[in-house]
């Protein structure tokens, strides 16, 4: 199932490192790490389309958000349902929506595909934003799914909760990774690889590429559903923002950060992205820039620079610019040690993907 003993070792080591985190970090950071794991699940599910099949979708976040809303919609007000009910429901709903959206949008290619996935994703956004179905623009709180399996329930106190939820997310992330690794090493994965490299030739060889792409789209959507479910469980809150297309763009950024050529890339990208998102907060707490400029007598200027540094979207925008301008292959183009580089296929020639 795994590529090499080395790959298996890297996976085990990475998992072990992540598994030890709750023993070392404060609850705030455990919760932050859970946020990062959810982002990693989303980015990993999208990698099946972007890195593996060469399909850049801007509607992926919609399936994620739809799944989170599904949890909200099926959960009674007072008590959470079993995760054994909510997770399959969320995954099925997201997969079903992906089937409908994919069936239509895969009739187009390249940029049209981008625009159509974006538009359909936004349609799902508007459903939650403009109707009272899910609490409207303000969002809504929900009772978390319970960790009960076949009558056995794993209970936890409020203080233990961050750690429990962290492990629930970690288990799902690892499972998703293994599932995708298995999928990509199957004959099906080989077809996706062929489509990414040269779809025209694949059709001439006898592959009905539409069906394969649709299958990948549905699987990716369903996996995004698992990520959205975990988000709802983590935050116990849903709002239209999680359905919006900015989430999809951020997931693409995580993939680009981590690199298109591997399955662990999106995970690393998601961790980096989440960490980056914390920077303005940290800077805001410590006010280093304001203090520095105050020491050299530029108080006003320092306050302004400090205010700029605390702007999250400004930082995000600048980081993206820097990455697309300077690191077109993501952080992977920095010379990383071998074991965290390719996990599937050959490194695609980037030019090969540019077939509109």
């Amino acid at each position: 199932m795994l590529p090499t003993p080395k790959g298996a070792f890297a996976l085990a080591a990475g998992t072990a490192m992540l598994a030890m985190l709750p023993f070392m970090a404060q609850p705030y950071y455990v919760e932050l790490a859970t946020t990062a794991l959810v982002a990693a699940m989303l980015a990993l599910s999208l990698q099946l389309l972007v890195g593996c099949t060469g399909l850049v979708s801007l509607g992926h976040g919609a399936f994620y958000g739809l799944a989170a809303y599904t949890v909200y919609l099926v959960t009674p007000e007072d008590a959470g349902l079993s995760i054994m009910i909510t997770l399959p429901l969320a995954v099925l709903t997201a997969g079903g929506a992906a089937l409908l959206v994919g069936a239509l949008s895969l009739r187009t290619r390249g940029f049209f595909f981008l625009m159509v996935t974006l538009a359909f994703g936004q349609m799902i956004f508007f459903i939650f934003h403009d109707t009272k179905l899910g609490g409207g623009t303000d969002g809504a709180y929900l009772a978390r799914p319970a960790l009960s399996f076949l009558g056995l329930e794993l209970t936890y106190t409020r203080r233990q909760r961050p750690v429990y939820l962290y492990y629930v997310a970690l288990v799902q992330l690892v499972a998703m990774y293994l599932f995708l690794a298995f999928l990509l090493r199957s004959l099906f994965g080989r077809v996706l690889e062929g489509i990414r490299v040269n779809e025209h030739r694949m059709r001439a060889l006898g592959y009905d590429t539409y069906r394969y792409k649709l299958a990948a789209f549905v699987i990716a959507g369903a996996l995004a559903g698992a990520a959205g479910h975990m988000w709802a469980m983590h935050r116990a809150f849903v709002n239209p923002e999680i359905v919006g297309w900015h989430r999809s763009a951020e997931a693409l950024l995580m993939i680009l950060l981590g690199g298109l050529q591997s399955l662990h890339g999106p995970i690393l990208g998601a961790l980096a992205f989440t960490g980056l998102g914390e920077l303005p907060q940290l800077v805001g707490d410590a006010k280093p820039l304001a203090r520095f400029f105050a020491t050299i007598g530029l108080d006003d200027f320092g306050v302004r620079v400090q205010a700029l540094a605390e702007r999250k979207l400004l930082l995000e925008g600048l980081v993206i610019l820097a990455v697309v301008l300077a690191l077109p292959r993501g952080l992977a183009s920095l010379r990383l040690p071998r074991f965290i580089r390719p996990a599937y296929g050959e490194p695609p020639a980037r030019d090969e993907q540019v077939r509109p």
Binding site: M115, L252, I320
Partner: protein, 289 residues
């Protein structure tokens, strides 16, 4: 609803559709000629709206904002093309998407830093702040008529430019056959810059015209961007006349839908897009694949 009410909604739909055309035509031109998707096109629309707001606040009339938007937009577009987009024509979709996504974030932050995060209304210029009586019981906003007029004038100018000039011929050729861009040779850079400048100027102008109608607010470009995508998908790749008819169609469907069947109106245009994708995936007016 009365006949007068229906007429008013019809005109609203036409006016909204024409505004969408200004945005979508730039998108489809830039896309058709350079093969690049500009997600920040909606932000350019937002910039136009804020230009209207700022000019109105300091000078008192939105009319001055119109030439400012046209000229500054053209210059700004040329600058963007030269400094940034030019380097991304050969890059893959993912890079282009993220580049333009970054621009959206930066435009929004710039808006937040320089103007703030509040909603502002922009007054309709006093010269047009009245209603034109059409029939005994029905009159219609003079400003909306003016918007329709300006949009139509720009649309005609755009058609003439595309259909009657040498550069227009090159643009049509490039949109039909991307390989043609190589044949254009030395002209290509100038064509790219011009197309980008025109597209940007049109988006800013649309923003200016829209400001008194819809107010200005954070993230206002997003909604218009996505509707413009729907317009381009329905209209077909790189087709200006396709964008025109499809923008009118969307404007009417959306406006009339919201007036008569508000419960499902938000979905109407997406259902329309789905139908077009099923029937003709290359768009109603695009070339058949």
């Amino acid at each position: 609803m009365s006949l007068a009410g229906f007429l008013a909604q019809l005109l609203n739909g036409v006016q909204y559709g024409l505004l969408l055309f200004l945005i979508a035509s730039g998108l489809t031109l830039i896309f058709g000629v350079m093969g690049i998707i500009n997600l920040a096109h909606g932000s350019l629309f937002m910039v136009g709206a804020y230009v209207a707001f700022l000019v109105t606040r300091s000078v008192g009339s939105v009319w001055l904002a119109l030439p400012v938007a046209l000229l500054a937009g053209a210059a700004f577009g040329a600058l963007l093309e030269r400094g940034l987009f030019r380097h991304f024509y050969k890059r893959d979709h993912l890079d282009q998407v993220l580049l333009t996504f970054a621009l959206i974030l930066l435009f929004e932050e710039a808006r937040s830093i320089f103007v703030g995060n509040d909603f502002y209304s922009v007054p309709v210029p006093t010269a047009f702040d009245f209603s034109v009586p059409i029939t005994a019981g029905f009159s219609y906003s003079a400003y909306r008529f003016a918007v329709i007029g300006v949009c139509l004038a720009l649309a005609v100018a755009l058609f003439l430019w595309i259909e009657r000039t040498r550069m227009g011929a090159i643009i049509r050729a490039a949109a039909e056959k991307p390989e043609m861009v190589d044949v254009i040779g030395i002209d290509a850079r100038r064509v790219h810059m011009t197309v980008f400048a025109v597209g940007t100027a049109l988006a800013l102008t649309a923003g200016v015209l829209a400001a008194p109608l819809y107010s200005v607010y954070p993230g206002m470009g997003d909604g218009f961007l996505i509707i413009s995508f729907v317009v381009v998908v329905i209209g077909g790749l790189g087709s200006i006349s396709g964008a025109f008819w499809s923008a009118l169609l969307i404007g009417l469907v959306d406006t009339l839908g919201k007036a008569y069947v508000p419960a499902v109106a938000g979905l109407a245009i997406y259902v329309l897009m789905a139908a077009v994708l099923l029937w003709r995936p290359t768009g109603l007016f695009g070339q058949r694949g």
